[in-house]
């Protein structure tokens, strides 16, 4: 898939993944990879940015194996941002689809 396409919706997918339950980094990468084939390295910077912009809160929780894991939790601002992104995505894909349909007919 086109890397530019992925980049655009990656934020929405990450936000949506964390909305249901808090996740730690690796888990989240695995979750997102199910939807889009993405370079793993790029998800961590994205998480960092969303945290810096207060859409995520992080906390440490002990794990049964290895060091404690950093969990990501979606904040109220994050939920609003996710809804906004979804609305934008809906509008965008509708417009693109309508255009493609018009061209075909």
């Amino acid at each position: 898939m086109n890397a530019q396409f992925k980049k655009g919706v990656l934020e929405l997918i990450v936000l949506e993944s964390v909305r249901k339950r808090d996740m730690y980094g690796y888990e989240l990468v695995a979750e997102v990879s199910k939807v889009v084939d993405v370079n793993e390295g790029t998800i961590y910077p994205l998480l960092k940015r969303l945290t810096n912009e207060r859409y995520f809160e992080t906390y440490l929780r002990e794990s049964t194996e290895g060091p404690p894991r950093k969990y990501y939790h979606l904040t109220a601002a994050g939920v609003l941002y996710r809804d906004q992104l979804e609305a934008e995505w809906d509008l965008f894909q509708q417009q693109v689809n309508r255009f493609l349909k018009e061209q075909r007919s």
Partner: protein
């Protein structure tokens, strides 16, 4: 080709612009990711390969902090314009200012003013005492100083006060009173001078002690700065990046030296106040002729 250690090390060196805590946070995240991938059956190298290009990765991480990814800390030392001419000019100006300031309100000048004031007060007090008593005591004072026979002058005194009627009755009492008062006046005058000298010595001691007290911290600070400067210079010669701290130490030492140098201009030397004592005594001499004039009046009265 690349293991976890070297990957993390390189990543950290690229993220040097970020705070230490942030660096550790990011590194621990990547380390954990690699560990989990390895426990899932991949090799470290494969896990790292999945992160993609290092350049791009660093650029994305830095963009999360709104840091320009192409920014690199400047390595070459910037050449500063030589500070000496400006320093010398500034120093000369400061020295001139302090000298002017010292000329205006140095302890010596201050002392001169205080001494003159004290003499004035003393003179006022002495005159007032004379007025409170009786007018004739004015001529008694100098007479006592000249070791002339006071009794005669006292006897001659009353006519000028206009107390002719009570003269005979009051004379013996007055005589006693007046001789006592001359002694007291002389004592007070001598005590006044003693006090002045004592106060001067005390002020001298206090001022210089205060200066010494003020100078002590700067001496300590300057010595510390010098020691640090020496240590840092050695380390700097060994190639540690300590140029800034060394310069700070040099500046601190120079500041302390400068302050001490300027402060030494405020030391109150004993020789000068001695020369001033002569000046300070002038007012005392100045009002003696006035008494002589009054005495002259008295003798005129006697002539009548």
């Amino acid at each position: 080709m690349k293991n976890k250690e070297s990957f993390l090390k390189e990543l950290q060196s690229r993220l040097a612009v970020l705070e230490e805590a942030e660096q550790q946070d990011i590194l621990s995240e990547y380390a954990q990711h690699i560990d989990l991938r390895v426990s899932g059956g991949l090799t470290e190298e494969e896990a790292i390969r999945d992160f993609g290009d290092m350049e791009q990765l660093v650029a994305e991480i830095l963009s999360a902090y709104h840091v320009k990814p192409t920014y690199q800390a400047p390595k070459e030392k910037r050449k500063l314009p030589s500070p000496w001419p400006a320093l010398r000019r500034g120093g000369a100006r400061a020295a001139a200012f302090v000298r002017r300031l010292g000329g205006k309100c140095s302890p010596r000048k201050l002392w001169k003013a205080v001494a003159a004031w004290w003499e004035k007060v003393e003179a006022r007090l002495g005159l007032n005492k004379d007025f409170f008593e009786e007018p004739e005591t004015v001529d008694v004072l100098p007479a006592a100083e000249e070791n002339a026979a006071p009794a005669e002058l006292v006897a001659e005194g009353p006519p000028c006060s206009g107390e002719m009627d009570n003269k005979e009755a009051e004379e013996p009492v007055k005589e006693k009173k007046e001789t006592a008062w001359t002694a007291v006046g002389g004592f007070f005058r001598r005590m006044g001078h003693g006090l002045v000298r004592l106060a001067r010595a005390a002020a001298w001691l206090a001022w210089n002690l205060l200066l010494l007290l003020c100078a002590l911290p700067f001496v300590c600070l300057g010595l510390t700065a010098l020691i640090c400067l020496g240590l840092l210079a050695v380390l700097l010669a060994q190639g540690y990046p300590l140029a800034g701290v060394t310069l700070c130490c040099l500046g601190g030492a120079a500041c302390c030296a400068g302050i001490l140098g300027l402060g030494s201009g405020l030391i109150w030397h004993r020789a000068k106040p001695m020369a001033q004592t002569a000046g300070a005594e002038e007012p005392v001499l100045a009002w003696e002729p006035a008494e002589d004039a009054e005495r002259g009046d008295v003798t005129e009265n006697d002539g009548e």
